[in-house]
């Protein structure tokens, strides 16, 4: 039985999120509060072990449905010390104890927000929580997906429900044409700069418009991934043909053909008269490659204005930009070139599948020829836990999502950029836009 059967009620004026909330409502204990049923409760080894231990201490070492729980060790893998080994062990033992089949340990593991979508776990209309703020990535599939704390996760594991204040929807209508060398990462940085770091707090950002319609799933995931950097609960894109094509290998048993799936997904689209808190038009024509310059993700300026800022490390990976398209773009920039001797280059393909594909396409050879270290799939460096922590005073051009003070290591500075800009900067030894965007005679 397909999950989406087209019956989403007749009420008018609803956004995607409102339709999903209606469909999943368990309780409305108070005005503006909804307790919703969860389709997926996703877990990693950093925020889940304390929930597991707490459930055990309460005598409630149970899970609501082992098939709806997905778990991965991704933040520090392989374990770097006894503490991280213990966190992995707690998650691993728990997954075995409860028969959680979709548990991904070393050899099969990858960055959660890249791994779970490619396994087909995230579907249009789903509700997903995870003890990770970048869970908003999954909205790219037309799911409502929100990062939560360990207590919400704990109740999710036990009861399969979560409470939310009904979020308002902010619609961002993205139009225009992207210039060469400008990518989804630059688009979302420009949107965060416009909204501010709390411009979307308690809101879902619904991304739409011709540019989103033309985006691949990978690009949509990059877009939705950083919704939380503007405070957003979730970024969300209406599911369309691109979504159907991406998910087809997983859903083909549910629908007669792709058209039937597309029709079912269309039921999720916002009503023509949907009520938005706000609608903003965002034209990306003329947008340049961007970078952050401070310790807040809304501190953004053109890379052009930062040329000459020396870097010590270039990092390509993470749930924002560690997917195959990102690796292709970066490798294209690096082909036949070498990174500056003063720069450490690290690339972490976000999942084993991406790693294997990059290997098959010859991309990893390009990275290695250029002087990059190819790391295993892990979140490690992005949050300064392992596999590329910065020393005090060091600077990193990173394709990640947070430039907070100390994020990749105490006293380190992180410049958030696209994979192309990270690669170009690695070669230059300082922040530099992708070669394709440069004119003859530009500063290199």
């Amino acid at each position: 039985m397909p999950f989406l059967d087209g019956h989403w009620g007749d009420a008018m004026g609803r956004t995607i999120t409102e339709k999903i909330f209606e469909r999943h409502r368990v309780d409305s204990p108070y005005e503006g509060v909804r307790v919703i049923r969860l389709d997926v409760v996703a877990c990693h080894e950093i925020t889940t072990p304390i929930a597991i231990n707490d459930l055990a201490a309460r005598g409630k070492d149970r899970v609501f449905d082992p098939d709806r729980i997905k778990a991965v060790i991704d933040h520090v893998t392989p374990a770097k010390d006894s503490k991280t080994a213990t966190q992995g062990k707690i998650l691993r033992d728990w997954a075995r104890r409860h028969g959680i089949r979709d548990f991904f340990d070393i050899g099969r593991n990858g960055v959660c927000h890249a791994l779970f979508p490619e396994k087909g776990f995230i579907r249009p209309g789903y509700t997903v929580i995870m003890g990770d703020s970048h869970t908003c990535t999954y909205g790219a599939f037309g799911a409502f997906a929100a990062g939560v704390g360990t207590t919400d996760l704990e109740v999710g594991i036990l009861k399969g429900v979560c409470a939310f204040r009904l979020p308002e929807t902010l619609r961002v209508e993205i139009g225009g044409t992207l210039a060469e060398g400008v990518y989804a990462k630059d688009v979302i940085l420009s949107i965060i700069a416009r909204l501010g770091v709390n411009g979307a707090t308690n809101k879902v950002i619904e991304f739409g418009g011709p540019l989103v319609a033309a985006m691949s799933m990978e690009e949509r995931m990059t877009l939705c991934n950083m919704a939380v950097e503007a405070g957003g609960t979730c970024g969300i894109c209406a599911p369309d043909q691109t979504t159907v094509d991406y998910l087809w290998e997983f859903i083909q048993g549910d629908y007669d053909d792709k058209d039937a799936a597309l029709e079912a997904f269309a039921a999720l689209h916002p009503c023509p008269d949907a009520r938005y808190g706000e609608v903003i038009e965002h034209d990306v024509s003329g947008l340049e490659p961007l970078t952050t310059f401070g310790h807040k993700p809304d501190q953004v300026k053109p890379v052009r204005e930062m040329i000459g800022q020396k870097i010590d490390q270039a990092y390509i990976g993470s749930c924002t930009n560690g997917r195959i398209e990102d690796l292709r773009v970066a490798a294209e920039e690096l082909r036949g070139r070498r990174i500056a001797p003063t720069v450490r280059g690290i690339v972490s393909p976000a999942t084993p599948r991406i790693y294997r594909q990059a290997l098959a396409e010859g991309l990893l050879a390009v990275f290695m020829d250029a002087g990059f270290c190819v790391s295993n799939p892990t979140c490690g460096a992005c949050l300064g836990m392992s596999n590329g922590v910065l020393a005090e005073g060091e600077v990193c051009a990173a394709t990640t999502n947070r430039n907070f003070n100390g994020r990749m290591g105490i006293g380190g500075m992180v410049h958030l950029v696209s994979p192309a800009t990270a690669a170009a900067s690695a070669v230059a030894g300082h922040l530099a836009p992708p070669t394709r965007t440069r004119q003859q005679g530009d500063v290199r």
Partner: protein, 174 residues
């Protein structure tokens, strides 16, 4: 219910993020108690000394968008194990705010001008705060000066505080 009063720590900056409240390197701990020495360890703020400024404080008053960034509940826990159960701000990041109430603690928003007034009157004095949950008021006092301000506590958040947190509430209802 937890204790919702005591000495006030003023943090005069917006956008204090979860990495500043508790750096990611401590996320490898598997007990809340282990976080105790590391509260606000990476916060760079004039006059703030990590480990010292938080000593014997039970309340935090700060500016906008407090707790932005990560979903880590280690941030509220770091406050909890230091005996700080109340954070008052102009606004909060959603997950941090929810995590506070999920732990049975208070994350209360006051209007920008009220926060500004509290900073002007009390920030450079030894200030105590008492919470009256029944009347939803805070009373701040320093030497001979005292001020009572009303606050809003949505019914669901009150229910969580009274239940002792979301696990207890959910257990009773679902």
């Amino acid at each position: 219910m937890k204790n919702f009063g005591g000495n006030v720590l003023f943090l005069n900056r917006s956008d204090i993020n979860t990495d500043e409240i508790i750096p990611a390197k401590y996320l490898t701990e598997i007990t809340k108690e282990a976080l105790e020495p590391h509260l606000l360890e990476d916060l760079c703020l004039e006059g703030f000394v990590p480990g010292k400024s938080t000593r014997d404080k039970q309340v935090v008053i700060t500016r906008a968008n407090f707790g932005c960034g990560s979903s880590r509940e280690h941030a509220p826990w770091a406050f909890e194990v230091n005996g700080i159960h109340v954070v008052i701000a102009e606004s909060f990041a959603r997950i941090f705010r929810q995590n506070m109430f999920n732990c049975g603690m208070l994350a209360v928003e006051l209007p920008e001008e009220v926060i500004a007034d509290l900073f002007a009157r009390f920030a450079d004095r030894d200030t105590r705060l008492a919470t009256d949950l029944g009347n939803t008021t805070f009373t701040l006092s320093a030497q001979d000066h005292s001020l009572t301000v009303p606050f809003n506590l949505p019914p669901f958040d009150r229910a969580l505080v009274e239940a002792g947190g979301w696990v207890e509430y959910a257990d009773a209802h679902y």
